[in-house]
Point group: C2
Chain length 242, copies 2
DNA sequence: CGTACGTTTGATCTTTCTCAATAATGGTGG
DNA sequence: CCACCATTATTGAGAAAGATCAAACGTACG
């Protein structure tokens, strides 16, 4: 791995073009690197963070809590920033925590936003990133509202496969997705028990290799077909997701 | 009504400060005014629109389609732009149509984005708007995943009440919300039949005045309590939503 | 090796959907 | 202003997806 913030550059460039100068400006951002454990909190609901946290390794999730349980409303794979929206408003209604052990880069928000003002393409990339997150949330809304449990799980697996691939991390997915049933349940609005049952059916149908912790897709095309996956909503430039 | 785009200015200012000059720049944007009927399409999925559509009267909804039915993934009340995300990327994965009869202003995207570049505060307001839409989508995700049908309906009513109020349109809500059961169902991931049953229960419980077409809240405080509504996620500056 | 955490399984219960029939409503043209 | 048509609401009965509860089973890690 060359520069720690290289993966952030790659993330931005998946949707918005940057010049060499822009790339250098991002790589030059002050930052600290933190190793975190699964469950560690990166942003507490209600806080007004003064930093932008970028995932370098592992998975992070944004979540909201109610009496009837938590809901994970977005997940962030390596390369993805977790709280760009705080360049738009100070406080957060949700919190962010690591879903697995991992490493994050922490960038002071002021410096980030200064660089964005002086480099319009970076500002545009930030806008595109926030808009892409909104688009993903809307797709999740479609899943929650109109897809049944199996399609929902399958669709999420497909989405993550593409998002990881766009960061050059396909291997991680081929090797399996390190999320627990109860985390998947909180992402999908289901019960861990039911997630387990469906994963079992997937394994029986040959759609997935193991139903245990590292879940690996075995039949990409069939999975896409069965759960109606179309990567257009991810808004990657180019072939729609490579 | 003074200037047609005045309500857009008001929308932006609910989350992001603007100067007189910024306001003038927005009011000076070229635009055409269109009267539309319920069901009219404003943006077709897959298109690369060259205009920004702002709702002036009535309600618009962004929707996605699957074999198992449509899902409305966002709604837009008067004053709100419907497709700011196209300042970030060209194509759309969803379509936008009027949920009721109404009036829209259509602004050329190029001019809009020129004004945004020359007026940083307007660019910032656009960023805040897109981020707020994302935040709303995440809240809807929480509703879909972890709230039952009644809380979901109640929560939506509360949200719309606040959003309308922030545009000075509370009356419209006091007078009732002109959405059909089947539209509410497609917003909430439910069935029109079930929406009807719950509205009936709301009316019996005195939470709502009529269960027919214009649905009017009668007991704001109780409704907020029963469905766990907290307007923080709307990110209005000031008192959190007034 | 034992403890804590995660998974699997089965039985049962609820919420919400589905289907189908009937009743309102609202807008349109005569 | 009324009759008609299309759309939307209401109601009831039955079915289904997913939740809940509780127990047993694995497995990783100290």
């Amino acid at each position: 791995m060359t520069h720690p913030l290289q993966s952030l550059v790659r993330y931005f460039e998946a949707r918005s073009p940057l010049s060499d100068d822009d790339r250098r400006a991002i790589a030059g951002l002050p930052h600290s690197i933190n190793a975190l454990r699964g469950g560690d909190v990166t942003l507490r609901a209600g806080d007004a963070p003064e930093t932008c946290v970028v995932v370098l390794k592992g998975f992070a999730g944004r979540q909201r809590q109610t009496e009837q349980g938590r809901q994970i409303v977005s997940i962030h794979v390596p390369g993805e920033p977790t709280n760009l929206q705080h360049l738009a408003f100070p406080t957060s209604a949700s919190s962010v925590r690591m879903l697995t052990a991992g490493v994050v880069a922490v960038i002071p928000a002021r410096e980030f936003s200064d660089v964005a003002s002086s480099h319009p393409a970076i500002g545009q990339a930030i806008l595109a990133s926030i808009a892409a997150e909104a688009s993903i949330a809307r797709e999740w809304l479609l899943s929650m509202g109109r897809r049944d449990a199996s399609q929902r799980i399958g669709h999420l697996l497909c989405e993550l496969a593409i998002r990881l691939k766009s960061q050059g991390l396909a291997d991680l997915f081929a090797h399996g997705l390190p999320l627990k049933h109860n985390q998947l349940a909180d992402i999908l609005g289901l019960t861990p028990v039911h997630v387990g049952r469906i994963l079992k059916r997937f394994a029986a149908d040959g759609l997935v290799a193991n139903r245990k912790q590292p879940i690996a897709l075995t039949d990409w095309n069939r999975m896409c077909r069965e759960c109606g996956f179309d990567p257009a909503y991810l808004h990657f430039t180019g072939t729609g997701g490579a």
